[in-house]
């Protein structure tokens, strides 16, 4: 007789699934890399990579697409964490893409480097000949993502064709590609925002300070609180004021809004998220508000 009922908690199931996915990639691809931005999802992904191969080091490099408009606290965290793990960090810079004439900087008050990142990302993948790229995207984030595979095929232009995806059954992932094509791999597909935070709490993982409540000079645009900063263009009709805020997602300073919050610990963040009635991207991302299909369109081009 079985001695207990072998129930597995939701975080253990999700972790085991993500570890399985990472090991499949390490076994089946020549040159994988892990996109690491210093945001909470990629932080969790990195911890899972650490677990999947322990006691061996993580068998692939990290890559960050640096827009040059990132929060300095997050860049510090990124470098520190990569050094701790002894991981190689490839930084693909949007500024370099602009200087090389690969992309043209947007102008005006709402100028953002968000869309330019796609070119930098795809160039980085091509230059390094990466054939599998881990991303921290989750299906609960956005409705186009809800339909994306764990192993998401990209053609040699880096494009996603949502209507022609490979069926994905059981825990069997199809890793077959031709040269020049690649697979985006999403080990956290089945995690929700709350799962990510529960996991950060359980594992006691350090996260960048901007996730916690702090005082910051901000201004309001489209119902979002944007930060004061050298790279953020602010109009005279957008007065600065001081507020106690925290970040629910970490992206570019130019398009990532802060939320009013006093949550100073992971426990308080979890309590806040459990009670919120707005999605993380809806609350904080100008880039997704462009249209009903903003994410789908960017993803088709090769965005994260």
């Amino acid at each position: 007789m079985l001695q207990h009922d072998y129930t597995t908690s939701q975080l253990d199931v999700l972790e085991a699934e993500a570890i399985h996915i990472m090991r499949e990639v390490a076994a089946e691809f020549e040159r994988p890399c892990l996109l690491f931005s210093g945001g909470k999802d990629s932080i969790v992904m990195l911890r899972i990579a650490e677990k999947a191969f322990w006691p061996a080091p993580i068998p692939f490099p990290l890559m960050h697409v640096d827009t040059g408009h990132n929060f300095p606290e997050v860049i510090d965290y990124r470098d520190r964490r990569a050094a701790e793990l002894g991981a190689r960090l490839v930084v693909a810079s949007v500024q370099d893409s602009i200087d090389a004439g690969r992309v043209v900087e947007e102008t005006g008050r709402r100028a953002s480097r968000n869309r330019l990142q796609t070119t930098t990302l795809l160039d980085g993948i091509e230059e390094n000949e990466f054939d599998a790229v881990f991303g921290g995207a989750r299906r609960d984030e956005e409705k186009a993502r809800a339909k994306e595979r764990v192993f998401s095929f990209r053609d040699d232009f880096g494009q996603w064709d949502p209507k022609n995806q490979r069926p994905e059954l059981w825990n069997l992932y199809n890793a077959k590609i031709r040269k020049g094509e690649h697979i985006r791999v999403f080990p956290l597909s089945n995690w929700t925002e709350l799962d990510v935070w529960d996991y950060i709490r359980r594992e006691g993982i350090e996260i960048p300070s901007i996730y916690f409540a702090h005082t910051r000079r901000v201004f309001e645009r489209d119902g979002m609180l944007l930060p004061e900063g050298d790279v953020v263009q602010r109009g005279d009709d957008e007065p600065l004021f001081e507020a106690t805020v925290r970040y629910r997602t970490v992206g570019d300073m130019t398009c990532t809004g802060a939320v009013t919050s006093t949550a100073a610990t992971v426990d308080e963040i979890i309590a806040e998220i459990a009670a919120t009635r707005i999605t993380e991207r809806g609350a904080t991302r100008a880039d997704d508000r462009a249209s009903e299909a903003a994410m789908e369109d960017r993803k088709k081009e090769g965005y994260f």
Partner: protein
């Protein structure tokens, strides 16, 4: 808190989107900005009511054409459980999606319109669910409000479905009369149907026992990756990483390696968080063995007195998933089974199954998109297999087209 993965089958007409919308809304998994976006789009399109299917239909083409193209995954949680919904479209051309969604599901909900009763598509959904061995099946008889909440109608449909299901070998079968629109028996028990003594749908989802659905008897550990740190600290470390596919492994257990047939003992079961005293599905762990054997990815670790079949000839039910090509005898494909990838040759197509009538067409010469048939394959190297009915993880496989690299088939070993 554990996870229940369930698939929903039915069309928009059956009220599937309304049901999912209600489960998400009542469990607070729909957020205000999502609801606002849906309300805005519904208004723009001149729809009178808030079209909750817009929540799940994420792609532009789906919204434009008002259809669901692909499996959409949705998430919600109650204090009891986390739920993953694989929402699969109900149209005939999407058998592929239903099979995909059902492959990982613990439970399937089949929606039936109380006015229409058991339709051809209900039979198809029931058949696919049992073919994929989804352990629990719930038939939600919806729109009970439109048949005056009549017990007779519910019983009529239940009888008809039960009769059909008896031919299918359906496992745990439950019937729940609901009205997704009004919420009867969805989250809480309905006052409109005092004759119904069973649980509400959500209560059933929260309490159905799934832990014992996994195979905890036959030890199966497909080796996924060999861990060799090459560090001074772990100089001689050699670990075999993988996800347990069956049985319970403990340190000290005698185990057998396939294909060599050599036996050894488990020295330890390692994880980043320290060694564990036992491992079972779906845990991802690393085994260290007492003897040094030549073990690589694609091999299997089992018990000496309980081994999978070592087979180069397999018989399977195959669902064909490619638009452009067909499965015929002599077709060559790549097969991926557990962690082993090999080449396969279709030796024989025994019959094609009509998923609506269960009729076996033995004259069939090919399988096209969304068709299912019984097939014999010859494999270039042995696979370590169990019947799919005994273990979904060691009994299932995918077929890959060698020219396009597309996933073109899903197989279940019989």
């Amino acid at each position: 808190m554990d996870i229940l993965r369930f698939a929903t089958a039915g069309s928009v007409d059956d009220g599937k989107s309304t049901l999912i919308g209600r489960l998400l809304f009542d469990s607070k998994a729909i957020f205000e900005d999502q609801l606002e976006a849906v309300e805005r789009t519904s208004r723009d399109r001149g729809t009178e009511y808030t079209d909750l299917s817009l929540l799940t239909d994420g792609l532009r083409a789906e919204r434009e054409q008002g259809i669901t193209i692909d499996v959409a995954y949705r998430y919600f949680a109650t204090p009891k459980r986390k739920f993953i919904i694989a929402d699969t479209p109900g149209h005939i051309q999407y058998t592929r999606n239903m099979v995909t969604g059902a492959s990982t599901a613990d439970l399937a909900i089949i929606l039936i319109d109380a006015r229409k009763g058991v339709l051809e598509q209900s039979r198809r959904h029931a058949f696919l669910t049992t073919l994929l061995r989804v352990p629990h099946l719930v038939v939600a008889i919806n729109k009970m409000d439109l048949v005056d909440y009549a017990e007779e109608r519910f019983e009529e449909i239940r009888e008809e479905f039960t009769q059909f299901a008896s031919k299918l070998n359906a496992s745990d079968l439950s019937f729940i009369p609901i009205s997704a629109l009004h919420g009867d028996n969805v989250v809480s028990r309905s006052e409109n149907m005092p004759w119904y003594q069973g649980p509400s749908l959500l209560h059933h989802l929260e309490h159905v026992h799934i832990a014992s659905d996994r195979n905890l008897v036959d030890v199966r550990f497909p080796v996924q990756y060999v861990i060799r740190p090459h560090k001074t600290e772990f100089h001689d470390y050699r670990g075999y990483a993988g996800q347990v596919a069956g049985g319970v492994l403990k340190p000290g257990d005698e185990v057998m390696h396939l294909p060599s047939g050599l036996t050894t003992k488990i020295a330890s079961i390692d994880t980043f968080d320290g060694p564990v005293t036992e491992a079972f599905a779906p845990m991802s762990v690393t085994l260290r063995l007492e003897d040094h054997l030549d073990i690589s990815r694609g091999d299997m670790i089992c018990r000496p007195n309980n081994q999978p079949k070592v087979a180069q000839e397999i018989d399977a039910m195959v669902c064909w998933m490619a638009d452009a090509t067909k499965l015929t005898p002599r077709t060559k494909l790549t097969i991926k089974h557990t962690t082993r990838t090999a080449r396969a040759l279709v030796k024989d197509l025994h019959y094609r199954l009509d998923v609506n009538t269960l009729h076996r067409d033995e004259a069939a010469t090919s399988l096209s998109l969304n068709e299912i048939g019984r097939v014999s394959l010859r494999i270039t190297q042995p696979l370590f297999v169990d019947d799919y009915a005994r273990n979904r993880l060691t009994g299932g496989f995918i077929l890959i087209d060698e020219a396009t690299n597309g996933t073109v088939g899903a197989g279940m070993i019989v």
